[in-house]
């Protein structure tokens, strides 16, 4: 693909992505009154994150075992109420150390 064509593709890609984000964000001004819609919007973020995490987290490191150990570490640190960064680093380290241990054994 030529550079010009490649950048046309990138422009189109960016435009579609931006408009999907911006149109509702700019135009939606009212406070929603419906209790059902309010409830739906309250639960939706948790559901989206769950659907993105499960089952993909178990294939995110290239090894189901290291991913499972990392996931377990994330669950434990999250239940202890640690910050987002602490939980993320703990999971990463747990997976890294598991991988290391597997290679040594």
């Amino acid at each position: 693909m030529s550079d010009a064509k490649c950048y046309l593709y990138i422009l189109v890609m960016a435009l579609v992505t931006y408009l999907i984000r911006a149109i509702p964000f700019v135009l939606f001004r009212k406070q929603i009154k419906s209790r059902f819609i309010k409830s739906l919007l309250y639960y939706l973020p948790y559901a989206v994150l769950t659907a993105m995490t499960i089952p993909d987290i178990f294939t995110s490191t290239g090894s189901t075992l290291t991913a499972a150990v990392g996931c377990l570490a994330a669950v434990v640190f999250a239940l202890l109420g640690k910050s987002l960064l602490t939980v993320a680093v703990a999971a990463c380290m747990a997976a890294f150390l598991t991988d290391l241990a597997m290679k040594l054994l």
Binding site: C6, Y9, Y43, V75, S83, A88, M93
Partner: protein, 240 residues
Amino acid sequence: MQKNSLFLKGLKDGIPIALGYLSVSFGFGILAAAGGLSALTATVISLVNVTSAGQLAGLNIIIAAGPLIEMILSEFIINIRYALMSITLTQKLDDTFTTPRRMLCAFSMTDEIFAVASAQKGRITAKYFYGLMLLPILGWVLGTFLGATAGNILPESLKNAMGLMLYAMFIAIVLPPATKSRAVAICVSLCALLSIALRFIPLFSFISPGFSVIICAVIASVFTAWRFPIQTDKEEAHNV
């Protein structure tokens, strides 16, 4: 003072997202370089899109020189969840969000920024959002550049482990409210079961991962909203 501290709080909340993005976009940079794109082109893609799944799909279309309509449809389908997130987040914006500020902030509506912003207590201000979006965008762009130019310096095992960071962050966002509210727990459990079913039951194999997220999330939250509607503001005082 107050406004600066809101900006700083946003910056601080953005650090884990930025670190997660740095590692994920590093992978994107490696893929883009492997596909024959220059480091500059890869970095520009990340700068103007700031989205993981959409960029990966877009990159593959560019590499395969697919038709432009495929680019439009793919990006639309993969990113339609951002429209839902944008609508949801408008309910939490305070009066500092003028139209130009909304146009600016909408640019950085990602799953993670949305998740952190929507988990805030009360309304959010534009200053907070600026702080929140700054480091993740920098991390995303910088990680792409580093991945495209120097992708193979990191040891494989560390690169692999870094793939967990974003998911671990999602767990940190979802679990605490799920332990406090039975309804949230039911919602996420149902969603997890649906997501596993859609992935592993062969009948559903035609559903792409991007669509699967939308389907599972909508079913689980519609069900929970129907069975367990949240208390309205007036009732909340009596139901803490």
